[in-house]
């Protein structure tokens, strides 16, 4: 019997239209906009100025503070300006705008296609290179990966979990990555295992990707300690805590981290990025982005440089259909609608989903009927029907008592609600206010 996490979860339509289309490398655009804040934590500090010539892979912004990471130029060209530009956050934030020239890679980067399987780097070197390469969690959360690799003192991990679940509907970038770059992934996982000093690694994959599972099982025979585990389809299985529960049946305590139960979770994309950083000295300057939608002409998976405008991707996938209602950055469950197509692809852009206007708007909001479907589907065991009014009417003490901070914003409650209530909207508001209150209390 294949495993899954026990509590809650929903089954949205999978709609993996782009699953069959191989990764295509997109042309380098004429101009790239590289935001300085593409990760959780402090924005990076720019080290280039207007008019500077930069090469592909050159550092243009340095990590500032503990939770931060480096940012590299994804193209060769001239820095046009460092200004605030609209990004996928919906606001203007500091970004480096680069006009592209001929593509010349910075020195020391191995751009060859050969797969380098010999691991010579030690744990410290792997962690250092992860930071240098500006690697963040590519599943979408964009948490700087080097922090997850350097375990806090006194904590020990015994198993590494690799997240190939891709439970978001529509998205297929991880699926294609596992199929086409399996060997790189395996070496990447071994590097991560070495950095964490663990001997076992599990790759969790939902069994709507049987080809990827079969391919990786075949490959894993050659690599010691790596086991591929198929998982029953259920959203949000790709969430860290749910995946840990499903794979090794350990429960991360409320407010705790996976390392508290002896494990660390990394995305498959991150593992490949670590492979490239350590074995090829290649920083994180491109990523795989799924561009898909029911009405799209050619749902595709593109390998694009960071900073490419979303519009370029949509044009490459056959253009925006006339009846488009929403363009979502990320998957349809957790993604966020864009209000401009000129925003750049960042390290966290896993997909662009085009939703037709008929499906784009929300249901009209009516009264809560106390059906408790939201409670049934909440994978964290929370009570969304209670948290929403707590946040709506400012009952922050109640919200805190009811563990609002445990919510990981998977959106299952809003998805299932028959009354169309904006549960997650208010819970998000509650989360940010409650964490502000807790911070001010500590001071």
């Amino acid at each position: 019997m294949i495993q899954t996490f026990p509590r809650g979860g929903v089954h949205p339509a999978e709609d993996k239209f782009a699953a069959g289309s191989p990764i295509k490398t997109l042309k380098v655009p004429e101009t790239v906009v590289i935001p300085l804040s593409q990760h959780i934590g402090a924005p990076a500090e720019p080290v280039v100025k207007k008019g500077d010539e930069v090469k592909t892979g050159q550092v243009i912004a340095k990590s500032k503070g503990f939770v931060s990471t480096n940012i590299h130029s994804s193209v060769t060209g001239t820095v046009r300006k460092i200004d605030s530009e609209l990004d996928s956050s919906g606001y203007k934030r500091a970004a480096v705008v680069i006009d592209t020239g001929e593509d010349n890679w910075a020195e020391g980067i191995d751009t060859g296609k050969t797969i380098n399987k010999d691991i010579t780097a030690g744990a410290d070197e792997i962690i250092r290179k992860t930071l240098d390469a500006g690697i963040v969690g590519l599943g979408g959360a964009t948490f700087p990966s080097h922090i997850k690799l350097s375990l806090p003192k006194g904590k020990k991990a015994d198993v590494l979990i690799i997240n190939g679940v891709e439970c978001e509907p529509c998205l297929t970038s991880d699926h294609r990555l596992m199929l086409e770059r399996g060997d790189e992934l395996m070496v990447g996982i071994q590097l991560l295992m070495k950095a964490l000093n663990v001997t076992r690694a599990f790759i969790g994959i939902e069994n709507n990707k049987p080809d990827a599972i079969a391919h990786l099982i075949k490959l894993s025979v050659n690599y010691e300690g790596i086991t591929v585990k198929p998982l029953r389809i259920k959203y949000p299985q790709g969430a860290e805590k749910q995946l840990i529960k499903a794979l090794i049946n350990r429960e991360v305590p409320s407010g705790g981290l996976p390392v508290d139960v002896g494990t660390v979770v990394h995305n498959v994309g991150t593992a490949v990025a670590v492979y490239e950083a350590v074995q090829k000295n290649k920083p994180l300057i491109e990523r795989i982005v799924t561009v898909t939608g029911r009405e799209m002409k050619e749902p595709s998976n593109f390998l694009v440089r960071i900073g490419t405008p979303v519009r370029t991707l949509i044009d490459a996938a056959g253009g925006l259909p006339d009846n488009t209602g929403k363009v979502v950055n990320g998957g349809p469950m957790m993604g966020k609608a864009l209000n401009s197509l000129d925003v750049p692809v960042t390290k966290g852009t896993s997909g662009i989903v085009i939703i037709p206007s008929a499906e784009a708007s929300r249901k009209p909001v009516v009264n809560c009927v106390r059906c408790a479907k939201c409670v049934t589907v909440c994978p964290m065991g929370l009570e969304p029907y209670l948290l929403m009014p707590a946040a709506e009417f400012g009952k922050w003490d109640l919200a805190e008592e009811e563990s609002i901070l445990d919510c990981m914003e998977c959106g299952s409650c809003s998805y299932i609600c028959p009354s169309g209530r904006p549960l997650l909207d208010y819970i998000r508001l509650g989360k940010s206010t409650v964490s502000k209150i807790i911070r001010s209390r500590k001071q």
Binding site: G90, Y91, K92, N339, R362, D425, Y426, R428, L429
Partner: protein, 284 residues
């Protein structure tokens, strides 16, 4: 039979007397001496418990008034000056006459000035929309029009105008309790000095972006050109971060600045119609 009645009366009376003695002793022992003036002061306060004074409710404010030696720093934005004068008599302390203030919405981005570029259908709260993106218009500083300020007003003094999509303050009802100022996630609302006949002149914009960008987002944005600064004879206007600000204390309501503004970002409210304008209207 009569014995039972007598015994019962005696027993119950004895119990009553004992309880009375205990209660009396306890009341003596745990007696809280409260300044009787607190009650008197509280009676004079509006009992709105709005928190505008910065304290949790009117009772706490009354206690603070009685306790403090110098009460010039304590202000109830809701109380009339007569009520405060009465409180001053009760306490025998000088009360600073607070300058009356009124809430002012510093955004004039109606749909015609700030075209809609998208449609928001999330939860109808500014705090939520503001956390998500710039809003239905492109301006990242402008009013979202979802009415968080209306929600927090305890005095029914602020309402959304469905035509402009902007909140409007009823000056007579506004007590300057500060709730809307705190409630607005974009800090658009400001408390300004109340003038004669509710006259107001202020920059209805808080956009600090460069002129071109601001103008692109909204036709009535302040573009930071500085013309009003030059026009002002009282040094009341300052220009900082591409945004002009009229100091309500220094401003003498001379109306020299408003016609200078190329984007009409300076609003004049409750003034008589200008002569030139009136003539132009007659000609039309």
């Amino acid at each position: 039979m009569s014995d039972i009645v007598i015994y019962s009366i005696i027993t119950v009376s004895a119990m009553g007397a004992a309880a009375a003695i205990i209660l009396f002793m306890v009341a003596k022992k745990f007696n809280v001496v409260e300044d009787p003036r607190i009650d008197l002061v509280e009676e004079e306060l509006p009992a709105a418990n709005c928190g505008g004074c910065g304290l949790p409710g009117c009772r706490a404010f009354a206690e603070a008034l009685v306790k403090a030696d110098d009460i010039s720093g304590l202000k109830c934005p809701v109380s009339s000056s007569e009520a405060m004068a009465r409180i001053s008599v009760i306490l025998g302390k000088e009360i600073a006459d607070p300058e009356p203030l009124v809430a002012v919405v510093r955004c004039a981005g109606t749909p015609e000035h700030r075209p809609r570029t998208n449609l928001y259908d999330g939860a109808p709260a500014c705090s939520i929309a503001s956390a998500l993106y710039t809003g239905e218009g492109g301006c990242p500083h402008g009013c979202l029009g979802l009415g968080d300020c209306v929600e927090v007003c305890r005095f029914d003094a602020i309402h959304m105008n469905p035509e402009t999509g902007l909140p409007e303050v009823t000056d007579e009802l506004c007590t300057a309790c500060n709730a809307c100022v705190v409630g607005c996630p974009r800090n658009i609302i400001e408390l300004r000095k109340k003038n004669k006949k509710d006259r107001k002149i202020y920059v209805a914009c808080i956009n600090e972006e460069k002129g071109g960008v601001a103008r692109k987002n909204c036709k009535v944005a302040c573009i930071g050109c500085g013309k009003c600064v030059k026009a002002c004879k009282f040094d009341a206007i300052t220009l900082e971060n591409n945004l002009a600000y009229i100091d309500p204390v220094k401003c003498k309501l001379c109306r020299k600045c408003a016609p200078e503004c190329p984007t009409n970002a300076i609003l004049e409210i409750n003034f008589p119609v200008r002569r030139e304008k009136a003539e132009a209207q007659v000609q039309d």
